[in-house]
């Protein structure tokens, strides 16, 4: 049973890279604890910026730092980071094309009983609708690590959403196929394809196993790259399997009439 949440892996990757790369700057909005970034703040105080509970400021300050050569990683609960700061994400990050990586933590319904204010079931739609903003939802700790290492190599904006709690591994140490912006085939199947992202990839994998017992062969695609989506993998699934089901921790705001 894995007990390391993806947000903690993000901190580990950033701490590892910050040793050598002094341009890495992590920013939090009174969220260093919830983002598992206290270790970073304590080890690299000169590469850490606290903005207080001010998510719009968090994003704009990140953009300003990035514009002056820093690699800014802004971490805050996904609910506040994505929609409260949406305009800062749109104008100061995406439109101005600044090297800011927005880390939305405790996304989806991670906060459970804390209710609607803390749920983030709009963030994917909100941020994916912005031109020049990529959206990634890594599934497990191994993929989170690989994704972060790739994102550290580019200079473009991105939003990365992770959940709050540890998730069961989808992959294994040393056996984690990963190509940037390509869906990972978790399991092959010919009847139906389940496309999932983030924490629900593990659920999709489990579901495919159950389906297998019922005689249904289910393909599982880990679409961690929600934007740019891997169109080739989707088209291939449409051609080769009889149905596609997508699952994500997100809402489309459908209300009853």
């Amino acid at each position: 049973m894995n007990n390391i949440p993806n947000r903690q892996i993000i901190c580990e990757v950033l701490m590892d890279k910050a040793k050598e790369d002094k341009d890495i700057v992590v920013l939090c909005s009174d969220s260093r604890g919830s983002a598992s970034l206290t270790g970073f703040a304590n080890t690299y105080p000169e590469q850490f910026v606290e903005t207080g509970i001010a998510e719009q400021n968090l994003v704009s300050i990140s953009a300003g730092l990035a514009k002056c050569g820093k690699k800014a990683f802004a971490a805050s609960p996904a609910c506040f980071l994505s929609t409260r700061s949406m305009e800062q994400c749109k104008v100061d990050v995406a439109y101005s094309n600044t090297n800011v990586k927005l880390i939305g933590i405790s996304g989806g319904i991670s906060y459970g009983a804390l209710g609607m204010t803390h749920h983030s079931a709009q963030d994917i739609a909100a941020l994916a609708s912005i031109p020049n903003m990529r959206v990634y939802l890594p599934s497990d700790r191994f993929q989170t690590k690989a994704l972060m290492e790739h994102l550290l190599e580019d200079e473009k904006p991105a939003y990365i959403r992770v959940g709050r709690n540890p998730v069961e591994d989808v992959y294994e140490e040393g056996n984690m196929p990963f190509k940037m912006n390509e869906a990972t085939v978790v399991s092959e199947g010919k009847d139906v394809t389940i496309i999932a992202c983030g924490e629900l990839v593990r659920a999709a994998k489990d579901a495919a196993e159950e389906l297998g017992k019922l005689g249904v062969s289910a393909r599982v695609l880990d679409m961690y790259c929600v934007k740019p989506i891997d169109q080739t993998a989707v088209l291939k699934a449409a051609k080769e399997t009889k149905a596609i089901v997508t699952i994500e921790e997100h809402s489309y705001g459908v209300d009853k009439a």
Binding site: V25, K67, G69
Partner: protein, 274 residues
Amino acid sequence: MENLKAKSFELRKDIWKMIYKAKTGHTGGDFSICDILVSLYYKHMNISPESTDHPNRDRFILSKGHSVEAYYSVLADRGFFPKEELETYSQYQSKYIGHPNNKINGIEMNSGSLGHGLPVAVGMALAGKMDKASYRVYTVMGDGELAEGSVWEGAMAAGHYKLDNLTAVVDRNRLQISGCTENVMSQDNQDARWGSFGWHVIHAAGNDLKALDEAFTQAKATKGKPTVIIADTIKGYGISFTENKAEWHHKVPTEAEFENGLKELEERRIAANE
């Protein structure tokens, strides 16, 4: 040294022509901040068209992005791009659109939505502190813009981090699109507001180049805190009939107005040179 007062009237002529040709623009705010931009771009800022990527260049953000015609005129005149390119202002497929964008040489940040410039400038100033760099960061905001909450998030952080490499200018022309600022949302008592966030506050006559010169000099010498210059300006300054009139926020001159305005600007330019 060049007569900067005459320069600011010369630039107003360019702005006036640009707006008349394109049939769009923000005359009032452009004319209001012309002297502020002239003071920064011809005297106080360490910038040059030859080194727009220099790590130690001063940074500028036009937070009140709608005053873009003034910004374009100054950048063109300082040689960041050929003046003729402004002929395309606001035309289909021109990059010289109605708000600043960083496809244009010399423009650092895209702006247009109010309340973004100061928080971004805070990030730039923080980076300067981290790198122990000598560059300074400047932003110009409108007084109507001060109603945006994000301005005060930025102000709070700048005070907290004691960003003495940051200077904000408020174009205090007391007008905004709907009328007098004091009727829309009261903006008096700026001293107490900025002072309480840990800023050094300077008042300056915002269409007076000597007063602006003194204010920017004082801001550079102020240590341990950021400085805000409350620049008391006249919206539409330069042509008698556009001055202090809310409707000139984005009114386009008629042919007669254009000719009369151009004549007055030229007269005032010549007078400034004498």
